[in-house]
């Protein structure tokens, strides 16, 4: 009897004794993977400079995380993929023109990444503790710091080496400045407009343009249950509804015309799809209870449209998500999950 035990040193640990195969790093790398289609389309449309900008973001993010953790003697977690993901998302959120020879603005992605990883994430304790979406803070920070470089958009030339592509306005920029008629004129006709917006042949940030590719990645994540419908659908639904109600303008007076907006244009343009499926859904910075997530999504949608329609800036997704990030701890406080048995009891 006794020798049985000696032969086998028994391992003692608490239950449960079996664990699911899912790990944090597997989740993060899978999300990275699901962003690839959109990234490749950006690469295709904007050429080598899209690749450079994104790679620069990824490298600086990962290095920032590595050196910070070294400096404060924390466990190194760079290979869990979350810093890589922050870098990738930041890169996909930047204009491709940041890497052209004139003006030479490669410090922008680097500063954005350092702010994202060091200040927004590591200062708060690293993965899981940050209040704000790191990639979006990184982007907002450089947008305010380098407003010119960050608002120069280039044409999608689909040429590999298009380092000096012509600058142009984004669809939302045109919509805001010159109205719907002009936007349709630029793209030929309405059907063509929708089609180009859908496949991503338009000016914009590297990874935000192709709705098709983003939907493929998002569908994969939904299928794998890495994200659920709650945030994206409530976000997109609110945008569509508000775009329809408040997005219309009378062609003669330029005044707002109720119930005459075009929800599709608002849904397909800007960074909405990227934001709704990949950034608003960041686990760490969204509410964790489903009810709360729906509130969060609606809030994001409403703020996006407020900024797009009333604000001075054509695109509102980034600020909308960041503003809602402020409210997440409050939502979490107000909406805890329903304890088994407690609800029925109250109803009686």
């Amino acid at each position: 009897m006794a020798d049985l035990k000696k032969e086998h040193e028994l391992i003692v640990s608490v239950s449960p004794h079996i664990r699911d195969e899912e790990t944090t790093s597997r989740i993060m790398w899978t999300v990275n993977l699901s962003l690839l289609p959109a990234f490749f389309l950006g690469f295709y449309f904007f050429g080598l400079k899209a690749l450079f900008v994104t790679a620069l973001c990824i490298i600086s993010s990962v290095l920032s995380e590595y050196f910070f953790q070294k400096a404060v003697k924390k466990k190194l977690t760079v290979n869990d993929g979350s810093a890589f993901l922050t870098g990738l998302l930041l890169g996909m959120n930047l204009p491709p023109s940041l890497w052209s020879f004139n003006p030479f603005t490669i410090h922008v992605p680097i500063i954005g990444s350092v702010i994202a990883v060091v200040i927004t994430k590591q200062f708060f304790g690293g993965l899981g503790y940050n209040i704000f979406n790191p990639a979006l803070i990184g982007r907002a920070f450089v947008l305010i710091s380098f407003p010119k470089a960050m608002t120069i958009w280039t044409e999608p030339t689909a040429a590999f080496l298009a380092l000096d592509a012509k600058t142009t306005a984004t669809p939302l920029g045109i919509l805001k400045e010159d109205g719907l008629a002009k936007l349709i004129e630029v793209f030929g006709d309405k059907i063509n407009l929708y089609a180009e917006l859908f496949n991503g042949h338009r000016a914009g940030s590297i990874g935000e343009t192709s709705v098709l590719a983003l939907l493929i990645g998002a569908g994969f994540l939904l299928y794998k249950r890495y994200i659920t419908w709650h945030i994206p659908i409530s976000f997109l639904g609110t945008v569509a509804a508000l775009a329809w109600i408040f997005g219309g303008k009378s062609p003669e007076t330029g005044k707002m015309l109720l119930f005459a907006g075009d929800p599709l244009i608002h849904l397909l343009s800007g960074g909405l799809m990227l934001g709704a499926f990949f950034m608003a859904t960041d686990y760490v910075t969204c509410p964790s209870v489903r009810k709360g997530q729906i509130v969060f999504g609606i809030g994001c949608g409403a703020l996006t449209m407020l900024i797009r329609i009333k604000g001075g800036y054509p695109e509102g997704v980034m600020f909308a998500i960041l503003l809602m990030n402020c409210f997440v701890p409050l939502i979490d406080r107000a909406m805890k999950s329903d304890v088994f048995g407690a609800v029925k009891e109250k109803k009686k």
């Binding site: 907002a140 407020l306 800036y313 990030n325 701890p329």
Partner: protein, 193 residues
């Protein structure tokens, strides 16, 4: 009406006193360690804000201007605030001891908050009418309350975070405030004042 609404929104969100005008920071950082204290302070502060701004407007318009005493604004405004706070303290203690127990402690702090003084000063320098002053000060109070409540909820969450030691407490709170201020830039340009 639209102007009043705009004044309110601008004071509460777009030019939020904490996030864009950097005012009231001592109280803001002082009371937001706990949600309860922030809520107590919010209620007390907003009420005192509106009432004392109204009092100050009346005194400025009907006493100081006619007598040419505009240069005494600092002394008079702070005096009115301090006097009102003292009176509120005494009255509340008598009339509603329960409420006093809950909110009274915050009254004493309010006199050293710069927003309470900045709002009457701004009302004067922008030349707001009585109604405008009321809306403006109410917006300021609501905006400050919003800021405190957001901050308290975040700081309670930060209690559980692994913030590096040197940054625990105030430094990280400043950084959070900076990040919120960055997010609040999204509201810029909504209204032109």
């Amino acid at each position: 009406m639209e102007k009043l609404f705009e004044l309110f929104i601008a004071a509460a969100l777009i030019n939020n006193f904490v996030f864009t005008r950097y005012l009231g920071l001592c109280i803001f950082f002082g009371v937001t360690k706990k949600m309860d204290t922030s809520i107590g302070m919010s209620i007390t502060f907003t009420s005192v804000m509106v009432i004392s701004a109204a009092l100050n407007w009346i005194i400025y318009k009907f006493i100081m201007i006619p007598l040419g005493l505009g240069f005494l604004e600092i002394v008079i405004f702070i005096g009115v605030v301090a006097g009102f706070v003292q009176a509120a303290d005494t009255i509340m203690k008598k009339v509603s001891p329960g409420l006093y127990f809950k909110l009274g402690i915050y009254l004493a702090l309010i006199t050293t908050n710069c927003i309470i003084l900045a709002v009457p000063l701004l009302n004067v320098s922008e030349g707001y009418s009585f109604i405008e002053s009321i809306f403006f000060s109410f917006g300021a109070g609501v905006g400050f309350s919003l800021a405190m409540i957001i901050m308290a909820s975040i700081r309670e969450k930060l209690e559980l975070a692994d913030v590096p030691k040197a940054f625990q407490g105030l430094p990280i709170s400043f950084i959070v405030t900076g990040l919120i201020a960055l997010a609040f830039m999204g509201f810029s340009g909504l209204i032109t004042l």
